[in-house]
């Protein structure tokens, strides 16, 4: 172990990893910084557990969209799927019993296919299309709930405590993360997504069926959002909010940008988003415990987001954008 050559090698590998994922360095620096500044508040098991909990909340929403952003589009329909899915579970539980929970992935799948079809065939910009979908679903959620928050019981086993201080939802999230990373890194589909994102016209000329793969991206994102929402639903207490909260909508997007993905396509992916989400969770909790008045938190998060998109877009000087 004490062989200097070997040590050098592992250091080199570490440096390589950080070069591939610059946000990793930021996460480590943030973590150490907050630990030194607030040793009695930041390094408590309670706070570390909260960081993991927040990580789960954000990554479940961010995984699907981080696949879509590699094609250059954007999917914001996850909030809508989560809200409407949650209220549909409440509606269908008397009818279907435990099987009602499967309504959420089904809704995600259908939404993904529909969004993909509209985006590809009607050529509507995806971010505004999916934002409208989310807003419409939020309205429907409120209509279906008849104005009261609805709690569904019976799925508590999903988040029952297994390991102290580790949210059980994190264990459920792992397979989803692995599937997403595997699809993007090791399959033809993932390679095609990156190709479409970096040059759609070029990918078309290379013989890739653009329309089919774009619809596939939205479908997979919708399905991931649906499956993730099952965990999210119980992770956040078996009920959903009735109004669309822009902050819940923006946080996953912030995490994707934090990971170093600029939303113009051709780069990024779920692996980067994991690190971005971790960085965001550490920063958020660190600021949260260190501030005297919480009102300024949102302002600081906004400033950090703007700063990080400027840094992430430094290589785009010659690119045309809209």
């Amino acid at each position: 172990m004490n062989d200097p050559k070997k040590k050098h090698k592992s250091l080199l590998a570490g440096a390589k990893t950080i070069r591939a994922y610059p946000p990793l360095l930021i996460t480590i620096v943030l973590f150490i910084g907050f630990s030194i500044l607030f040793p009695d508040r930041f390094l408590t098991p309670m706070n570390l557990s909260s960081i993991l909990g927040q990580f789960v909340t954000i990554i479940l929403f961010a995984l699907g969209p981080s696949m879509v952003v590699t094609t250059g589009s954007l999917d914001l329909s996850y909030i809508g799927v989560w809200m409407l899915g949650g209220i549909l579970v409440w509606r269908f539980t008397p009818l279907l019993g435990m099987a009602a929970i499967l309504v959420i992935p089904l809704l995600g799948l259908v939404t993904g296919i529909l969004v993909g079809l509209i985006q590809v065939k009607a050529k509507v910009p995806s971010f505004i299309l999916t934002l409208s979908v989310s807003a419409g679903y939020a309205g429907l959620t409120s209509v279906l709930s008849e104005g009261y928050p609805r709690v569904v019981r019976g799925y508590e086993f999903l988040t029952a405590k297994l390991i102290p201080y580790v949210p059980t939802a994190l264990l459920w999230t792992m397979p989803l993360i692995i599937v997403a990373v595997f699809v993007m890194r090791s399959t033809k589909v993932g390679a095609y997504f990156y190709a479409i994102g970096s040059n759609e016209e070029g990918a078309r000329l290379a013989g890739i069926n653009i329309d089919r793969y774009k619809i596939l991206a939205f479908t997979m994102s919708g399905l991931l959002a649906g499956v993730g929402s099952i965990i999210q639903f119980q992770h956040l207490g078996g009920s959903v909010p009735l109004t669309l909260n822009m902050n819940t909508l923006i946080q996953p997007l912030t995490a994707i940008v934090f990971g170093g993905t600029l939303l113009t396509g051709g780069s990024g992916g779920p692996d980067r988003t994991i690190i971005g989400t971790l960085a965001f969770a550490v920063l958020y909790r660190g600021l949260y415990i260190s501030l005297i008045n919480p009102e300024i938190l949102q302002l600081l998060i906004g400033l950090v987001l703007v700063l990080s998109i400027v840094i992430a877009s430094r290589g785009l000087k010659g690119v045309t954008i809209t």
């Binding site: 509507v124 822009m246 690119v319």
Partner: protein, 318 residues
């Protein structure tokens, strides 16, 4: 032969025809269901509902016809309104230039991020809207404030010829926007950039400058809408404009300004704003809830974006 001419005319003006027909259909439907819809009192309600909306929508139209998007309009409206109500007791009517200056500054940063640093416009404006919301929350701390200054309120609620003055402000801004879009080099540059930014740049248009100016204009108009909104309502909290972003966007595309850029313009936005805000007011008069209205606006937004996009001329859409 005549038939084909009519058909071609329809093809060319499809967006205009669709919005005119929809607007007339919606207004007559509400008038039939609810006979007091166009009564003098109903008219004032309708005018109040559409005026600040029209001002904000004019700014957004300028950005959309340039092929970009401005997410921060609603946040800046909120920020301007809150600046007015928070500081009017300290500095009097000087709050108006202060609010406008802050919003124009935000617009300038939006433009800078987009045009100079090459950040996609919806992402840049999304980030800045988070900053604006955070600033508004920090300044107001979530409380509700009321305005007692009568001179300030008179800006919007003085009645001239049976209609409140905010309506004439909105019409004036709308007319100026049309003038800017059609009769100034800046307006023509916006269309050129929306059609093809590279071609515009090769023709000698200073694309970076025009883009920054468009975002500054949008920020300024959002601020103005916020000031007049506060003068109209006389108070508010951080909740101002909470459900406004989807209807606002829907009103621009419903007017016939395509998200692809290069077409449409402020002259069309009036129709879209009438369509959206009158539907909103009509549904509220019929005691339909905010939630079902949101569903309907989302459907209008998606439907009109599909209808107004000319699919033959657009090759790549993100």
């Amino acid at each position: 032969m005549a038939q084909s001419t009519i058909f071609r005319g329809f093809q060319e003006n499809r967006a205009t025809i669709i919005s005119v027909v929809t607007a007339i259909a919606i207004i007559s439907t509400f008038q039939i269901i609810n006979p007091s819809f166009l009564s003098p009192q109903g008219r004032i309600t309708l005018v109040y509902a559409m005026s600040y909306f029209l001002i904000a929508a004019c700014g957004l139209t300028m950005v959309i016809m340039m092929g970009s998007f401005d997410f921060s309009v609603v946040s800046l409206l909120k920020l301007a309104a809150l600046i007015c109500v928070l500081y009017i007791d300290d500095i009097g009517l000087l709050v108006i230039p202060l609010a406008l200056l802050v919003c124009t500054g935000f617009g300038f940063i939006n433009g800078l991020l987009f045009a100079r640093f090459k950040v996609p416009s919806f992402l840049a404006t999304l980030g800045m809207s988070l900053v604006a919301e955070g600033l508004a929350l920090y300044l107001s701390r979530g409380f509700l404030y009321m305005i007692t200054n009568r001179t300030f309120r008179a800006l919007s609620v003085t009645f001239i010829g049976g209609l409140p003055s905010i309506f004439y402000w909105a019409l004036g801004i709308w007319a100026v926007s049309i003038f800017v879009a059609f009769c100034t080099p800046f307006g023509r540059y916006l269309y050129a950039i929306g059609g093809n930014p590279i071609a515009a740049s090769l023709c000698g248009v200073n694309v970076v400058k025009a883009r920054i100016n468009a975002f500054m204009l949008s920020g300024f108009l959002s601020g103005l809408a916020g000031v007049l909104y506060m003068a109209q309502f006389g108070g508010g909290s951080i909740e101002i404009g909470a459900d406004m972003s989807i209807p606002l966007f829907a009103s621009v595309v419903a007017g016939g300004t395509s998200l692809a850029g290069g077409t449409g313009g402020p002259h069309r936005t009036l129709l879209g704003v009438i369509l959206i805000t009158w539907t909103q007011a009509g549904m509220s008069m019929l005691a339909m809830g905010n939630d079902i209205q949101l569903v309907i606006f989302a459907i209008i937004a998606i439907g009109m974006s599909i209808l107004t996009t000319n699919r033959k001329s657009v090759s790549v859409v993100k």
